[in-house]
Amino acid sequence: MGLTSKDLLGIQGITSEEIRLILDTAASMKEIASRDIKKVPTLRGKTIINLFYEPSTRTRTSFEIAGKWLSADVINISTSSSSVVKGESLKDTGLTLQAMHPDVVVIRHAVSGAPHLLAKLLKCSIINAGDGAHEHPTQALLDLFTIRERRPTLEGLKVAIVGDILHSRVARSNIFAMQKMGMHVRVCGPPTLLPRYVESLGVEKHLSVERAIADVDIIMMLRVQRERMGAGLFPTLREYSKLFGLNLDRLKMARPDVLIMHPGPINRGVEIAPEVADGPYSLIQDQVENGVAIRMALLYLLAGGQNN
């Protein structure tokens, strides 16, 4: 059993069987985090390069920890201190890295499709850690994993994704992933932050948060990207928070056992109230913890396959 592709570029390119294999492998990997000695020898002698063109705390750190717990050598390249500032193109950076014989390159880039370009160019495995407003597949996988820990049968679950759907690669990957697993997805946000024809993805569109969250199993809040405010997409943070933020009052409209998720980083008091983010049904910390297990599973499945 293994993945069919050498790369993980998006949820769109993998099957529900492959998603299940990744989640099952991650469930086995999770035990390692509870050990005194958090290291297994599996990827000894393998090299993983983290190539991040955009800032990141949890994704980059969890890839680094995942690689190290599997005994791989992990190198982090942050573009602000690399030849990228001298104007090196993505293609040339990729070829330079290839000459150093990495087994996996993890890339985050502001341009959609950047990982796909590298995947065609390089012989090693490429993992997409977020490309523009396109996909963020490892986030969607860890979200599914986190949900499955609480609700073992994913099929039939209802999810409301609330916030800036238009610019969110997390929303896109989650929509694809959840639908592949037979879940029902609704999106909700200000009209300016919902893509046109979003229904063509097979999701329900809501403009009222109250109605969107009324009978769902999971509420997934997205970060308000403050940098979007200048573009006139919504007037003020205060108004956004009032209309679309998840606070205790609004939460009363949802099912009492609803699970609350957020990919982070959160803006406390904007899209999510502190009492909700830290509340009993919040899975935000689980999401971070499970990120390591999911990335260990992917590194195992990609770096350890027959294609190497």
């Binding site: 059993m1 293994g2 294999l21 099952d24 492998t25 469930a27 086995s28 990997m29 035990e31 050990r35 005194d36 000695i37 290291k39 297994v40 020898p41 599996t42 599997l70 599973a297 195992y300 499945l301 350890g304 396959g305 027959q306 190497n308």
Partner: protein, 184 residues
């Protein structure tokens, strides 16, 4: 392309039950009781085998012996060389192995490479007082300096044969079968 054909059944349910009973008695004898003894089965048939030995030990000694499950996939030495990628299964050892008398339990002892991986995996979890090895079938052909402390049945085989242990919990029947390769 080669397939395999059943050559002989070497243990039936009764024979398997006897072998397990004898192993349990020997474990009690060697360790002078079961004080500090824990059983760790190797996924997947070794786990069921460990549970059966534990049940037998409880009958004999009147004490419940802790049972854990160890998956050795992450410690294999043929990583990236095997034809198909092995599935990682869960290691579940709900007790500390420190200063315990650990009995590793596996269904078939062959090259010894699985046992080597299990020893490495076990040592990452703690420092047992000692480690012993119990197997239902020892089929020979060791490639490493490893031997079993408790053997259900010694089974001379040729290298191109295969030995498979079936257990009721997973396979709905108790038996050990030897297969020979058939060239097509």
């Amino acid at each position: 392309m080669s397939t395999r054909r059943e050559k002989a059944q070497v243990l039936d349910p009764v024979g398997m039950g006897r072998a397990i009973t004898r192993i349990a008695h020997e474990i009690g004898e060697r360790n002078k009781g079961v004080e500090g003894v824990v059983l760790i089965g190797l996924r997947s048939r070794g786990v069921e085998l460990a549970q059966r030995i534990a049940a037998k030990l409880e009958e004999i000694e009147g004490v419940k012996v802790p049972v854990g499950a160890l998956d050795i996939t992450l410690y294999r030495d043929d990583f990236g060389r095997a034809a198909t990628q092995p599935v990682v299964r869960r290691t579940e050892i709900p007790f500390s192995v420190n200063d315990k008398r650990v009995v590793l339990v596996d269904d078939v002892l062959f090259t010894g490479r699985t046992t080597r991986a299990a020893l490495d995996g076990l040592m990452d979890l703690g420092r047992p007082q000692c480690v012993q090895l119990a197997v239902l079938v020892d089929r020979g052909h060791r490639e490493l300096p490893i031997r079993a402390d408790y053997v259900g049945k010694n089974l001379p085989t040729s290298r191109n044969e295969a030995v498979q242990v079936f257990m009721a919990e997973e396979d709905s029947v108790d038996k050990v079968v030897i297969y020979e390769a058939v060239e097509e």
